[in-house]
Symmetry: C2
Subunit: 434 residues, 2 copies
């Protein structure tokens, strides 16, 4: 095979990939999140990357972002095949999965999903076309205890807190409070109002009020009342709201219950924020958003979700209420990476490099490596009997923390230069006991 | 939202998904394989699901299997975007990755990859359109020590052996031996011959000889000589072959070296098999296939690979020899699952269900669960203060092994019915010490 032409491939825009040292951190993060999810009894499911187009477009709104799949050399047969596309979130596939396997699942069904999803949006920093989401949801038949609405923030706080990215703040509301108030006011077309309220983050209060009175045709009084409501925070102030109907009362009680259940978390970790409305019509009660208080570069919600009335009504004649929350993992990871918050020191999982002093010592080196591996270490044998300095240099370049000289029975800690004469097995025991 | 029409989605053919209890086993398998890969110092990389079509089709042969991606509602802008498709293996993306990040990687570069790949082939049992591959490769610049050819089977043996799927047999050859012989015979068009030799598994020897003499225009004598060679096995018999040229001599020495290095493994685990040729022109030296000796339903190679001359010659003007091996994970998993070899008992990672005796005990139950979690257990609190029998029934249905009564300070092992009065913290310590 002669070397004809070199084709220089470019990165495909919006499809990120990391160097090994960054990927190691990504894996540690994903492992940690998974561990927390499982510690609360969430079971993993993994759905295919592709779903029928009819499933993906059932809700109608997001079809412009969908990647459809076509076989490059489709034949006559393939015309009979289902039209499929890549999933753009994990909720639509979860609904389809739950409906399809309903009789084989046990409820309440606690599931987590950590998969890549794809959206054909215009890429920019923190918005990719391929990215991981980390979701948990609990689904039950007919009734789902409110207790689970309080579990979501507890799990997410633990998952994010363990990533060492500063203070986490989960902001919680309950849509029934605002919707109840709108109902009491006789406002039927609620979507423009909730959409406007959602802008409070970006606009000053007087502009929001102006939008409510002009575009949503509310009176000044109504607008002020709404804005006043959405400024309430703290469990005592929530309880002090005078409900104007049952819906409001329910929302207040639910939110107070959820906040009470989370009182063991640090004060600033859980905050009531009635301005959060999210999703406009999917969520029906509790809603969540999450801020990173110490990462000014990350301005949006890193983890959002809420309570919904019915997961899979389009696919199955069962009433399946649920509550769920989703970490936009790759967006979080990429923004932090980009802004230098992620420290990496190792390019390999190798803990110990076994030095190869000579070709004759190959068997000794390989056997030593084997023993070390049996004791739980990740071990490489250097590949050629080169000068020791070159072998050490390899370890240092890759960030391997220890080297071992099998012929001398000596090991060296490369971070502090400490060199100790010690039998491999004894050393293992010593370190293993730490 | 009124329940209008129920749309019953069908599974998309060739895109498998598992129930939670099967997914748990799949995760255990993937975790184990990853642990073994890392214990030998392989670093993870993960490439995007999609590559430029030009990258995917560079080798020309597999384009009919490629899924291309199109945005469902592509706009004018999108016409300027690169044409992309889903990767059909992990080698093509690895070559592109290595070329693109060459200056940031350290060599020898040991990488593993465990991702899904997609092929638009006709689905059947054990052949999916979406499946996991688990690959390891080592790449070096200009020269890669033969030592790594021996590492591949050692890693793979450990990875597969730990899955508890019976005896593993890795069959090894070196293509230089057969190709050297063909060269010595003056046979230039080697591909039809190697392709015919590859059929020895399926055809009796006399039919293979007939094909060699008719379709490949060899003499009877040549055909017999080839078949005799490919029947040689065992390191002593390999060494006893009289090489007819340097290429044959090199192949014999390399294969003998690799077998020598693997002599610590069980006799039947590593077998020389000169009939293995694989890949026809990609591999240039050592080649591997893997059989499951105790799984008659699995008739093909579960894990294959070999040595190649140059990973990324189409993308970079560097000579990058490598050796790699790949487990066809989903195919393996699905055939074993389908044939009842995979035993699952748990539908959830939960180790302990904390009983909720009454609503008043909610805080006690949640606190107890928290303490148990801090000690490394996966714990759920039952969601409602229902009858104890119902709560135990939930644990049994999901395969949760233990329950704990926080009010009584009693725990029960559901597998043997043993009930013990013990403080949660003491119990944790006791079990944790096992």
């Amino acid at each position: 095979m002669s070397k004809k032409q070199i084709y220089k491939p470019k990165p495909v825009s919006g499809f990120p990939e990391w160097l090994p040292e960054i990927r190691m951190i990504e894996q540690q993060w994903l492992d940690h999140i998974r561990r927390v999810f499982e510690s609360y009894g969430y079971a993993s499911i993994e759905t295919p990357a592709a779903e029928e187009i009819d499933v993906l477009t059932a809700k109608g709104e997001t079809d412009k972002e969908i990647y459809t799949l076509t076989r490059l050399q489709a034949d006559e047969d393939s015309k009979k095949e289902a039209r499929i596309g890549l999933h753009f979130d994990q909720t639509v596939p979860f609904a389809r999965y739950t409906a399809m396997h309903f009789n084989e699942l046990d409820f309440p069904f606690k599931r987590y999903a950590m998969q890549k999803v794809w959206r054909g949006e215009r890429p920019q920093l923190g918005r990719m076309r391929e990215f991981y989401q980390c979701d948990i949801d609990v689904i039950h038949v007919d009734n789902l205890p409110l207790h689970f609405d309080a579990e979501m923030p507890a799990v997410i706080y633990e998952a994010l807190e363990g990533l060492d990215i500063g203070r986490i703040q989960i902001r919680i509301s309950n849509r029934k409070i605002l919707l109840g108030l709108l109902d009491a006011m006789g406002i039927e077309d609620t979507i423009p109002v909730t959409r406007t309220v959602d802008k409070q983050d970006k606009l000053p209060a007087n502009e929001v009020i102006q939008l409510l009175t002009t575009e949503c045709s509310l009176t000044e009084n109504q607008a002020h009342k709404i804005i006043t409501l959405t400024k309430v925070s703290g469990v005592d102030d929530i309880r002090a709201i005078t409900p104007e109907n049952d819906q409001m009362r329910e929302g207040i009680e639910e939110l107070a219950f959820v906040l009470d259940q989370l009182s063991h978390l640090p004060d600033e970790a859980i905050v009531a924020d009635l301005s959060i409305v999210r999703g406009l019509d999917y969520y029906t009660g509790t809603v969540y958003e999450t801020r990173l208080l110490d990462i000014p570069e990350f301005t949006s919600s890193v983890c959002s979700g809420g309570r919904y009335d019915d997961l899979a009504g389009s696919y199955i004649n069962k009433h399946l209420p649920g509550v769920g929350i989703s970490i936009g993992f790759t967006r979080l990871f990429d923004v932090l990476r980009h802004n230098g918050y992620i420290k990496n020191t190792r390019k390999t999982p190798t803990d110990i490099l076994v030095i190869l002093p000579s070709d004759n010592a190959r068997t000794l080196a390989t056997d030593t490596a084997h023993t070390l591996r049996e004791n739980g270490w990740n071990v490489e044998v250097y590949h050629a009997p080169q000068k020791i300095g070159k072998q050490i240099n390899y370890a240092e370049k890759k960030g391997i923390p220890h080297i071992y000289f099998p012929d001398l029975g000596e090991f060296k800690n490369l971070s502090n230069g400490e060199q100790t004469k010690i039998d491999a097995k004894a050393w293992i025991k010593k370190i293993g006991d730490d």
